[in-house]
Amino acid sequence: MTDYLVAMLTFAALYGLMSLALNLVWGMAGMINLGLVGFFALGGYASALLTHRFGLPIPVGLAAAFLFAGACGVVVALVTARLRGDYLAIVTLGFAEVVRIIASNEIWLTNGTDGISGIPGPLRGEVPPATFNLVYLLIVLAVVAIAFFLLQNLRHSPFGRVLRAIRDDDQVAAVAGKWVIAFKIEAFAISSGMLGLAGALYGHYTSYIAPDAFVPLVTIYIVLALSAGGTGSNLGALCGALLIVFFQEGTRFIAAWAPGLGAVQLAALREIAISATLILILRFRPQGLLPEKLPRLAKR
């Protein structure tokens, strides 16, 4: 049971990291990115290939994943610079699918749909699996804590204020003297880099990545996590991620009190339970569980 809990928390932390990344680009800067899983995959493959095939140390793989996904984020941001709303959503969604299809077909690089197995993990094989899982959880939690701390700094800085202004009206932000496109690219790049880092951490944890782990549903879960937690709030992003994983896992136990249902019916029942909860949250708390708070600065 502890093993199960540790694994669940690790996945929740990875979801949290992605949810924080989405909060930067969507919650703060107002750019919807539905290609989250694409950047996640880029980071996963970058680190897996460098450490598995070229034998580089894991920290190098993680750093490379961040930089590579971030650089791809710059390219996507430049290509979509003039797009907003629905159009940006569609293009980024398409981008993630392109990444997944390339990963399925460029067998020489990615081993196609068979995926890459045997990705190294820190201390894997040297300590018992339970210890490995615990150590890995601590590593992921540390990464999330650092990301949270830095993003909180951003959120409360003049930089964060400019992003929130761009979210409201990028033309007026330009009149205010802000080079809007540069801010958008910076936000997009950091967010993509964080997603890449999450992908790399995922690969080193499970030791195996394949294209079918990078389906759009993952993106949808992250968007739901942030919406339920509170768009614009970093704490909300983490809280939403925890909630989503809790529900995904918790609903597994439906089987215990719903005997006589087939596996397919049970799976459908889980999806229904998750959806119903989210609909209820968004109906009764549209701003999310922990909504964005405005700063009070009038008093000196």
Partner: protein, 255 residues
């Protein structure tokens, strides 16, 4: 040499000319009025000068630099700022944040200083906050500083437009109907305030339909109609001219 010099400025939308060769100059140290019937192209002129809408021909020279086709943020940082006729802004930010956003030279707007909370950013923030409080007090916005801008009344939103423009420490401010929807007493105060700022060395180009405000505040007054400048002179001269009265015919003066 004039602070702002516009020559032959053109812009059309869907084949219909909104600006068909505007020539206009704003002298440093003036409150220049810009009047003209609805649809004359006044707001479009502001959009082209401030870089929001790229002009299709002509030249804009501001403070000795040819700024034609520049990005709006570069124009703003050079000291030319404009307000919007229908108050726009950042509804999701507080009034205070709306003001602070317009503050220039904030190192905290760069990524690294923001990530590691540079002390220089905090000091600048304090200065800007002091400035914002002073401006808010003069525009009667000090009570609502911590409210979201979306919660302001229509008139307060217009005042916030002016306050934000002042935060940039500009040389030239383009005001698009600053007192439309503002109560007479406060409109009077805004007029007095503009005059004080004029004494401090600012220059204004003001679009307004309230003729009494134009008469009392602006010199010279420029008349636009159908995408062109029609006449220029003191308010009394302008008011006496037949073609100006004709251009305005059929519309109420106070909107």
């Amino acid at each position: 040499m004039a602070l702002l010099e516009i020559t032959g400025l053109r812009r059309s939308f869907y084949g219909i000319a909104a600006l068909s060769g505007v020539d206009l100059a704003v002298e440093s140290g003036s409150i220049t009025g810009l009047i003209g019937p609805n649809g004359a192209g006044k707001t479009t002129l502001f959009n082209c000068v401030s870089g929001i809408v790229p002009p299709q021909g002509g030249r804009v020279v501001f403070d000795g630099a040819d700024i034609t086709g520049w990005r709006p943020d570069r124009i703003a940082r050079r000291g030319l700022v404009r307000t919007f006729q229908i108050a726009r802004g950042f509804p999701g930010l507080t009034v205070m944040e709306n003001l602070l956003l317009y503050g220039p030279d904030q190192p905290g707007e760069r990524l690294l200083p923001a990530l590691c909370r540079l002390p220089a950013a905090r000091r600048r923030e304090e200065e800007l906050r002091e400035r914002a409080r002073a401006i808010a007090a003069r525009l009667a916005l000090d009570r609502v500083l911590d409210n979201p801008a979306s919660a302001l009344s229509g008139g307060q939103k217009k005042l916030l437009e002016i306050g934000r423009a002042l935060m940039t420490e500009p040389k030239l401010v383009l005001l698009d109907e600053p007192i439309a929807g503002v109560n007479p007493a406060l409109a009077e105060e805004i007029g007095a305030h503009l005059r004080r700022l004029l004494a401090d060395g600012l220059t204004f180009l003001v679009i307004e339909h309230h003729m009494d405000m134009i008469a009392r505040l602006c010199h010279p007054v420029i008349v636009m109609a159908e995408g062109r400048t029609l006449a220029q002179g003191s308010f009394a001269e302008i008011a006496a001219r037949g073609e100006v009265q004709e251009a305005y015919m059929g519309r109420r003066w106070a909107s």
